[in-house]
Amino acid sequence: MGYRKPYYNEDHKLVRYGIGDAVADAATFIRRFFAWRNIRHAFAGVIKGARGYAVFYAALILIQSLFWTVWLICDSRIAAMRAEADSGCDWNVTVEGLTHDEWVECYNGSLMFADEQKPSERGYVSYTVSSYYNAQSEVRYRVRARLISDSPAEASKFTARYGFEGEAVTVTVSERTEVYYRVAACRKNAVLTTVGLGVLSAVILLLLFLIRTNQFKFTYGIYMAFGAGFEKLLETAAWEMFAVSVLTFVPAALFSVLLFLLVLRGGGGSLAAGSLLSLPRIAGALCWTLSIVFVSVIPAVRILSASTPVKLLSAADNSNYVSSPRVSFRIFGKSFPFHYECFSFLRLRKYYIAVLSAAVLFTTLFSSGLLIADMRRTEQEFELPQFTVTATEGIDVSDIEVLDDIEGLKYVRWSTPVSATACASHAVLTRSQARSISGDTVNAQQDGMVASNGFRYIELSEELLYEVNVRGAWDVAEGDLSSVLSDADTAAVSLYVNNRQRLNIHAGDTLILAALRAQGAPIDYTRADKRWILSRQIADCYFVFYEVTVGAVVDTGSTGDEFSVVVSPELFSKLTGRSGEITSLELVFEPGATHAQIDEARDTVSAQLGGYEGFALGNTGRDFELAADSSQSPVAGIIYGSVAVMLVSPLVWMFAQIHFGYKRRKEMYILSAMGAADRDLSSLFLWSGALLSALACVFTLVFTSLLRRLIFFFINEYLPSLGFGRGIRYDYVFPWWGLLVCVAVSSAAAVISTYLPFRSWVRDRDLRRRAEAGADGE
């Protein structure tokens, strides 16, 4: 581009930079950038100098494979969900609760005439009508229609157009329509993953590019001395990377198909072929790759072009890394080669820090990937409900027992929670028991004890105990839950609040529960501060205290921001002043439950519980998740992805080290001329590798632990505390084999990357000697 500041032209006239100049400059830049010569040179350069670009070939194969793998997995999940919806139901919308008159009115009013029209005009393909008995044993009609599109908007249009209205009429969309949302969510996840991987990929390429520009400072210095600026350097680098991207496009796609087939556990070949041959997908992959290339190349070239040629030329031997020659001089009087290399290590510390950071970053990401894979496994194994039922009126246990006959149902989970704040109750705990919730407690009336009302009471009935003991609705971590019913002075406690253990209580400990007896001064219960309410209650109210023994420690699933105290019906009544009312249910199905069974279960639940006031039935779509998960192995996918990310580490490392080793050839020749034996020189390289390896192992262990802890805290505790998550609690695992792999890869990369330059130096030296001997002979 032209000179942005005013300048004097050939005729000594002052030239100012205007908009016209800017437009002309931009046009020139575009013309120059897209010059055929640049493209030809770039392709010729990266093909002829393939060895020098090997690391970029490998990196771009990996980067593009990540894109393909993510989208192939996304496509397969979508295909699996659609297949599940297709096999599960042949309708989009269900209208229920129509009386005979309402149905006749709808049919005679419009539906009958619509039947004569084409599907595209009437909005539906077909419909079925069936009658059933509702909870009050009245005949009701149900209409199920297959619409011309699975779009949710089509369902709304259908019900509005044909006048399906009535006092008790409910309209629900089927899985065919639900799948629309799920497909959108799946695509959104894939886009987010792609963006995340894009950022990671850009970092990888940027690192490689910075290493490359550092190694070729001399060449770049010459280029810049003779007129190369940012634009020229950028067009060279960008086209080279473009050429590598194009050349690696097909290998990357094939590699990702291989990875995909591994994730899919066989099958999926035709799906993969379909995705690979899709033009929008190919265009997307190219755009994504080129965006990454540009995003990574631009800063690297900008940094390079901001430097002065003299700086680059004088730093050709990496002497810019030699931050302190005085340190190097300290080698006098020390043993060779160990001390020499130790000081070299110190001398070249900036370079080693850069290389170590790259190695540690990717091995840490690998280890974190393993943790995320393990969390995903926990999610898959967690028994999430298919249906949730809520009612404002208490549901009778006998009605729940009827649901046991539903085919495919594993168990029904319910509880009768009453917040301690709502019944002006509190628990008295020792300071040790309440250590993790000390911020939520106040001083109790008892000396040395604290009081908390941040919990809820759950009434344990025989039926609930049956669900827990026989069907595994809750996890019992310690003790025997049945003791709560057999012994009046026993209670069970859940320890976790938002997936974080907040209480230090074990089976056999004593707990004091306070029930309100009489209220003193009025208290403002509308205040949100529970501690303030509790302190006022303790000061102004009279309580009856029940000392109970903790009979069991249980996990009642998601408990929000309160822990649970499970007590017998008698104690529940004394403490809360009311009997337990079941207002919510969760129906968990066997993993192999069919759509027909789930569909039938919905009818049964509606028929059985539909009469309760405020009845609402929610479908979580768990069957879709299971279907999508069973079609592939996301856990394996995450592990393969993590391994792929980790492979970048030795790639970066070896690339940097091998180049750096070549740079040290001159140093080796000088040392050799000064009398150093081959053994000593090989030791130099090996010491360098060993030191680097040791540091890499230490840093990997430290950073791996930190990042894993951070991810675990974020997913397991922080997100639930904000109300996200599904109440799943993960185990923190630190797989020794993953760490061993990290350490092994670090060590191998360090040793190989230091041994190769040494071998190269020996070969180079031998060649020179032979050439000299030949010249002497002549």
């Binding site: 581009m1 000179y3 942005r4 300048y7 000594h12 030329l313």
Partner: protein, 231 residues
């Protein structure tokens, strides 16, 4: 000097300092001078007096800490790195002391680097290139790598590289420093001949008094300062 001649390079109060540990080293200390179009100026002085640093700053290869340098009426110190790079490519040529040829490139590729960097499609390189290599007597060594050339041949390749873009000002940092007397004289002759043919300004750092005597003017540097300007 003819007062009608225009100033091609003006250097005013240029200071260049380096920080080495706790010590500040002043490589160039308030250097002020002017060089006219078509002039041949030699810069002399003992080792470490700041000659090369001054030459690099004047050639736009390095930045001063303060002061201003105007080349062809443009203040190169206030230019951004990209503008300065383009300016260097179009108007300035540099011959380095130790040749600085890219070892992986052949002599021809090394010579043609500036043409690639400047992207001047309207410029006819081919004829100029042929003349240049014929003048410098390296036509038969064009496809050799630098390691296969003698010191004198390498220096001639470096000169050809500096002249391929027909720069208006040529900076030469001890171009004969690594050569024997015969080769040094030959290279000097070549430089002066091309200077006359192309009407260039030549600024050369040298220790060789015999070569310096052929210059129009000599700037003598000591401890970073220009101590004398003499013929």
């Amino acid at each position: 000097m003819d007062p009608n001649k225009r100033v091609i390079l003006s250097c005013k109060d240029v200071i260049k300092q380096y920080r080495q540990y706790d010590v500040t080293v002043t490589a160039v200390d308030r250097a002020t001078f002017e060089i006219y179009d078509g002039e041949f100026v030699a810069i002399m002085g003992p080792s470490g007096s700041g000659k090369s640093t001054l030459l690099h700053i004047c050639a736009g290869l390095d930045r001063p800490n303060s002061g201003s340098i105007t080349v062809r009426g443009s203040d190169i110190c206030s230019m951004g790195p990209d503008d300065l790079a383009e300016f260097r490519g179009n108007y300035l040529g540099m011959i380095f002391q130790n040749h600085n040829l890219i070892p992986q490139f052949t002599a021809m590729e090394n010579i043609l680097i500036p043409t690639l960097m400047c992207n001047r499609p309207d410029f006819s390189y081919e004829e100029h290139f042929r003349k240049l290599v014929a003048t410098l007597n390296i036509a038969d060594r064009l496809h050799h790598l630098p390691s296969e050339l003698s010191g004198g041949q390498q220096q001639r390749v470096a000169i050809a590289r500096a002249l391929i873009n027909r720069p208006q000002v040529v900076f030469a940092d001890e171009p004969t420093g690594n050569l024997d007397r015969a080769n040094a004289d030959e290279v000097m002759e070549l430089l002066l001949r091309t200077k006359e043919v192309m009407n260039q300004t030549l600024i050369m750092v040298t220790h060789d008094m015999k070569l310096a005597e052929r210059a129009d003017r000599i700037l003598v540097m000591e401890n970073g300062r220009i101590e004398a300007k003499r013929k």
